[in-house]
């Protein structure tokens, strides 16, 4: 009875042949997804790692470079302001001197 039953299950569950074109579809799917996915994943991982390393190394340099440029610009601005200030002081002194001369004529001019 048991043997007969198991024999029937064997017969009922025989392998089913795949439909026509199955192997071709399977191979095409594996070819389209397989190696490309593997390679791209592998390289994407390496690329991401390399990019991360480059960023990690270069960020402090970029930061230092920007800071140096900012300090140079600041120094140039200070110099320009100092020069402008000196020029303005000079012009102001000249103007005050001219005004003083015009308001107090020289004694020689008075006697004539």
């Amino acid at each position: 009875m048991t043997d007969n039953m198991e024999n029937k299950i064997h017969r009922a569950l025989q392998r089913v042949p795949p439909p026509p074109g199955f192997e071709e579809r399977l191979l095409a799917a594996v070819r389209s997804k397989g190696p490309k996915t593997t390679l791209s994943k592998k390289y994407a991982w390496r690329l991401a790692l390399a990019a991360g390393l480059v960023l990690a190394i270069s960020i402090p340099y970029i930061h230092a470079h920007r800071k140096r440029r900012a300090e140079e610009a600041k120094a140039q601005l200070m110099l320009a302001l100092r020069i402008t200030s000196q020029k303005l002081n000079y012009v102001l002194e000249r103007a005050m001197h001219e005004a003083r001369v015009n308001s107090n004529p020289s004694p020689a001019e008075d006697t004539q």
Binding site: T2, M5, E6, K8, I9, H10, R11, A12, L13, Q14, R15, V16, P17, P18, P19, F22, E23, R25, L26, L27, A29, V30, K33, G34, P35, T38
Partner: protein
């Protein structure tokens, strides 16, 4: 001999799987993977998806395959896992129509109907019991081989086989009584 070592195959049949043309590997094993998936899921589209995924994974793991026997074991294991995952996604259970052979004679014999009924009853079994029966009766694996393939204990496999067969026997008896 340890079942694991036994399943990896003998030295004589050891192969460098990554040197074998992939077309040949597909030709040898795709029917097995497709059939396991079809019997389990009952849908040829899903069975093809499972087969494609199994071979895709194989293509990425060829260097780890040690022999022809190991390859078959590996594919069965991956197919079984993929089938159970797929089943849990959809929770669909229906009779695999594609597995039904066309009757050759004009009248459908009682034997044909009985086999058909068995297939329908197997499709209704809980997923782990169903996969165990498929591996036992379709793939003719021994209980230790099934345990190894599904990564479970031998006692658990024996228990599933007993339960599955008892359920089939009971339901077949019941339908016969009704008829």
């Amino acid at each position: 001999m340890d079942i694991e070592l036994e399943m990896l195959g003998t030295a004589a049949e050891t192969l460098c799987a990554d040197q074998m043309p992939f077309e040949e590997i597909v030709g040898r094993h795709s029917g097995m993977v497709y059939s396991i998936a079809l019997r389990f899921l009952g849908d040829s589209g899903l069975a093809e998806d499972v087969a494609q995924e199994a071979f895709l994974r194989l293509s990425m793991n060829l260097k780890h395959i040690k022999s022809e026997t190991h390859m078959a074991l590996w594919l069965r294991r991956v197919a079984a896992r993929l089938c159970i995952d797929e089943q849990r996604k959809f929770r669909k259970r229906f009779v695999p129509l594609e597995s039904t052979p066309e009757p050759h004679s004009n009248d459908i014999s009682e034997d044909f109907l009985e086999l058909e009924r068995i297939r329908a009853l197997v499709a209704e079994l809980p997923e782990k019991t169903r996969m165990t029966l498929i591996l036992r009766f379709q793939e003719a694996l021994s209980p230790p081989e099934i345990a190894h393939t599904l990564g479970t204990s031998l006692n658990s496999i024996k228990s599933r086989l007993r339960r599955g067969l008892a359920t089939l026997r009971e339901r077949l008896g019941h339908t016969k009584e009704i008829n």
